[in-house]
């Protein structure tokens, strides 16, 4: 029997809608949902079947037998594993208090269940991977508009000009934006790409600037300078919707294009040319605000400068610009239910381990927390000791800078419980492993995709689990029951969760059958630009001088500090992503591993010849924190001050035989330092020394 099932991909975090063809209980074909993606799918999406059949993924519950990281496991039944985990969690809660349990995950469709679990337990310490990627983007957006970056959508298809700062869209790819941007390009849209090295996105751009590493902020101050000096901004919009223009004007006065040329290496004339160009194209202009670009201790000011540029273009809530996402209520529907909204569920209380919303990071988003603080909080017992860590689909060990320090920190815990589909570095270092079924084998909570046109999507089980694995919603309920918290998980099946989510919406499960999603609005919902914008700041406007920042003792505008070039013989380590791997999770996939088995170190030709390094030769990379060994890619197409490597390699889990020991890990080299306000790690703060491998 042949059947088409609409579902949602989960090979990366983008959540593309897919159509899966199942025949006689086996997955025969996976393609992008033809109603949304014209059938297109990326390499990772197609490699989902290779994951499904992979014998090296987590196949049954396990309890550690040898020392941590030794790789001796005992296969146990689900009951044994859950009992063991629950008993250890109980011990931590009873002896040290619930706040000593932390739960970290990559944001997913069931995050409302994890948050429910932690609140029921009485711990404020639920955190996500988000801050490791874009914590400062989130904070920057909130300081200016009251919205997080996740509440804003990019209208790629109608844009006239996109300016990308290290946002390597065509390699770190998202299907819908790529298709939309190529369509916009056909209609004449332009792309300006700014990076320290060339990429495929640069190849598709109309303008490329190889910027001096770390100086993106200088460039933006100069752009703002020219835009204000030459009146290139959207006056009507800015007068109506922005506060603090006068202060900004005075602040950017000294930052001339000529000054920026010195700092960034980009000719002043070109900076002026870009400002003039976008001035003529506004408001259909996007200064993209994420995710790479300069990543430093004052990153929040760089992210703020990007949002400010959009505001000056009048592009926030404009066609072809950024559009504030609308939810079911804006579309005239009822509210979308979440388990975390239960009335009797305790509110989070007490200080968080990572200081988000507390003394350390007063304005970082507590909905995500600051993951990079995890090892520091454990090691320094600051603000209090942590005893147990639950990790779900996330690999702190290989995602948080300073691998060695992470390992030392995890060593101090009484319990590490990992729920995952693969042997991550953290899973390998755990005490208990609860294997989750992969996305093709399970149904999940419904996705509420807010946007200009809000819609609901459903991940549906396509085939029964191939191994002894369970869906997360079942695992967490079982754990809760064993901790006497079962009353907060009032469901027996995924359908019960769906009913709870849709109860007040006026949408039924049947509505998903035709296309796999339910559209809540026919046309994009745009607020009236003259009077209808609803910014969530105290003034109701975009606040260049931010009340959120100022009230917490932070400057709204940071005077520029010149970026120090690396000392002789050293380089600034920079990192990024490829088109075929997801962060740290797919390196062992048979198909993806075949395409890209290891990472290489990009190194400028002249620097390489001075160091006596030839293309393709192995090199040793040292920092004050660690070491890596990988092949050199000697090229003219990277700035001489920087070296670059892909994130996610240099794996140390022998059980994942395909990626074990291949390439080098950036986190082994990086120092764990964070943006002072938003808390995202300063990934480009580390200098490394490179030499030919002996």
């Amino acid at each position: 029997m042949r059947k088409d099932i609409y579902s949602i991909c989960f090979m990366c975090t983008v959540r593309c809608p897919i159509k899966v063809t199942v025949e006689d209980g086996a997955v025969k074909w996976v393609e992008g949902n033809p109603h949304q993606l014209k059938g297109a799918l990326c390499a990772k999406g197609s490699a989902g079947t290779a994951l499904l059949n992979d014998t090296e993924r987590l196949r049954y519950p396990m309890i550690r037998e040898g020392a941590r990281g030794e790789g001796k496991w005992k296969r146990v039944s689900w009951d044994q594993a859950l009992d063991y985990a629950a008993q250890k969690l109980k011990a931590a809660v009873d002896h040290y208090g619930p706040q000593t349990v932390a739960f970290g995950e990559r944001q997913n469709l069931n995050t409302h269940l994890s948050k429910t679990f932690m609140r029921a337990l009485g711990s404020p310490n639920h955190f996500t991977h988000d801050a490791l990627c874009k914590g400062s983007v989130n904070t920057a957006f909130r300081t200016l508009t009251g919205y997080t970056d996740a509440e804003v959508a990019v209208d790629w298809v109608n844009t006239k000009h996109v300016i990308l700062y290290g946002r390597n869209l065509f390699e770190s790819l998202e299907l819908k934006p790529i298709q939309a941007l190529l369509e916009a390009k056909d209609k004449g849209a332009r792309i300006t790409y700014i990076d320290i090295r060339s990429t495929i996105t640069a190849s598709h751009a109309d303008r490329f600037w190889m910027i001096r590493p770390g100086t993106d902020l200088a460039l933006n101050y100069a752009l703002i300078h020219v835009i204000l000096r030459d009146n290139l901004y959207d006056e009507e919009y800015v007068n109506r919707w922005v506060t603090g223009l006068t202060e900004l004007r005075a602040f950017v006065e000294p930052y001339t294009p000529e000054w920026a040329e010195e700092e960034t290496g980009i000719p002043a004339g070109e900076i002026v040319a870009l400002a003039r160009e976008v001035g003529g194209e506004k408001p259909q202009v996007i200064f993209h605000y994420g995710y790479r670009g300069a990543s430093h201790l004052d990153e929040i000011y760089f992210r703020r400068s990007l949002v400010i540029l959009n505001a000056l273009m009048g592009s926030i809530e404009s066609k072809g610009g950024l559009i504030i996402k609308k939810g079911p209520k804006d579309a005239g529907f009822g509210s979308f239910g979440k388990l975390v909204d239960q009335k009797d569920l305790p509110k989070p209380k007490g200080e968080r381990f990572d200081g988000a919303g507390g003394s350390r990071f007063p304005i970082a988003d507590p909905a995500h927390g600051v993951a990079a603080m995890l090892p520091l909080a454990i090691l320094n017992e600051d603000p209090y000791p942590l005893k147990a860590l639950i990790i779900h689909r996330f690999d702190p060990m290989l995602s948080i800078p300073d691998y060695n320090q992470n390992k030392k920190a995890l060593d101090k815990l009484d319990l590490i419980l990992t729920i995952d589909i693969n042997f991550s570095e953290t899973a390998w270092y755990s005490d208990v492993i609860l294997p989750e079924s992969i996305y093709l084998e399970r149904s999940d909570s419904i996705q509420m995709a807010a946007g200009p046109k809000p819609a609901l999507y459903m991940r549906r089980q396509c085939i029964p689990p191939r191994y002894d694995t369970k869906p997360f919603w079942e695992i967490i309920r079982e754990l809760a029951r064993r901790l006497d918290l079962g009353r907060f998980f009032p469901y027996d099946s995924i359908e019960d969760i769906w009913d709870l989510q849709l109860k007040d919406m006026g949408v039924s499960i049947k509505d998903f059958e035709a296309k796999g999603f339910v559209s809540l609005a026919k046309n994009p919902i745009l607020w009236d630009r003259k009077e209808g914008l609803k910014f969530k700041t105290p003034s109701g406007k975009i606040e260049f001088v931010s009340s959120l920042m100022e009230q917490n003792g932070f400057l709204s505008f940071l005077p520029y500090k010149s970026v120090t070039p690396p000392p002789e013989g050293e380089f600034r380590l920079t990192v990024g992503r490829s088109a075929v791997h997801t962060h740290v999770s797919t390196q062992n996939n048979p198909y993806l591993n075949e395409l890209l088995p290891e990472n290489v170190l990009w190194l400028n030709t002249e620097e390489a010849s001075r160091l006596g390094i030839a293309d393709g030769q192995y090199v040793e990379v040292h920092s004050d924190h660690g070491f890596g060994r990988l092949k050199a890619l000697v090229t003219d197409f990277i700035h001489p001050e920087a070296v670059f490597m892909l994130h996610g390699f240099g794996r140390q889990v022998p059980a994942t035989t395909r990626c074990y020991g291949k390439g080098a890990s950036d986190t082994a080299l990086q120092e764990n330092v964070s943006d002072v306000i938003g808390g995202s790690p300063g990934l480009h703060e580390t200098f490394v020394r490179v030499r030919p491998a002996s």
Partner: protein, 198 residues
């Protein structure tokens, strides 16, 4: 050549190598054989842009395929009717003669089956009226497949459109009495442009 035409609009390609995986996944191949490959050329400076070019290399389904001539068992065949070159796995004994004969490296080795495998334009899909896997799921929809008259040369169409747009602009800018530029006429009538229409 076969009756079919697989066109790669390389200017739109982003070198994501997804097509390689779509192909392998459809044929359930183990790591090793790659029936189509994206070859990356560059980057090299074109103006101030570090341009990268991509070449898509499936099998070219030659008119007089050397792999077919070299195959001692008749496993490698050129299908009568549409000229698709494919391997009949019932007949393949794994001697690798086809692999040595092909100048393009199209026949590949399947270490699990111990037989040759190659791009056959996904003939099982084509026979059901579907597009080959690589085409159907290409991220940017820059691969096109069909009989030559069905496949619009997307690159040429794009150029024509740009020229037409320019011609209109030039017309508008002409002095009132000056000569007028004529908008370009498309050379061939096309039912639908897959880039625009899809």
């Amino acid at each position: 050549m076969s009756d079919y035409y697989l066109f790669h609009d390389s200017a739109k390609c982003i070198g994501c190598m997804s097509c390689e995986v779509h192909c392998k996944e459809n044929k359930r191949l183990p790591p090793g054989p790659r029936l189509c490959r994206i070859e990356t050329i560059g980057p090299k400076w074109v103006g101030n842009i570090p341009k990268v070019d991509f070449v898509f290399m499936p099998c070219y389904h030659c008119d007089r395929p050397w792999c077919v001539a070299a195959c001692p068992t008749g496993a490698m065949q050129k299908r009568t009717g549409d000229g698709i070159v494919f391997v009949d796995h019932n007949l393949c004994v794994g001697c690798k003669a086809c692999m040595r004969a092909c100048p393009w490296g199209a026949p590949q080795w399947d270490p699990e089956k111990g037989k040759a495998v190659k791009c056959d334009y996904c003939l099982d899909r084509v026979d059901q009226g579907l597009e080959p896997a690589c085409v159907a799921k290409c991220v940017t929809k820059c691969l096109h497949f069909g009989k030559p008259e069905e496949v619009v040369d997307a690159r040429r169409m794009r150029h024509a459109r740009a020229m037409a747009a320019m011609a209109t602009e030039v017309t508008l800018r002409q002095p009132v009495n000056g000569p007028k530029a004529k908008p370009m006429k498309p050379k061939r009538k096309q039912a639908q442009d897959p880039v625009e229409g899809s």
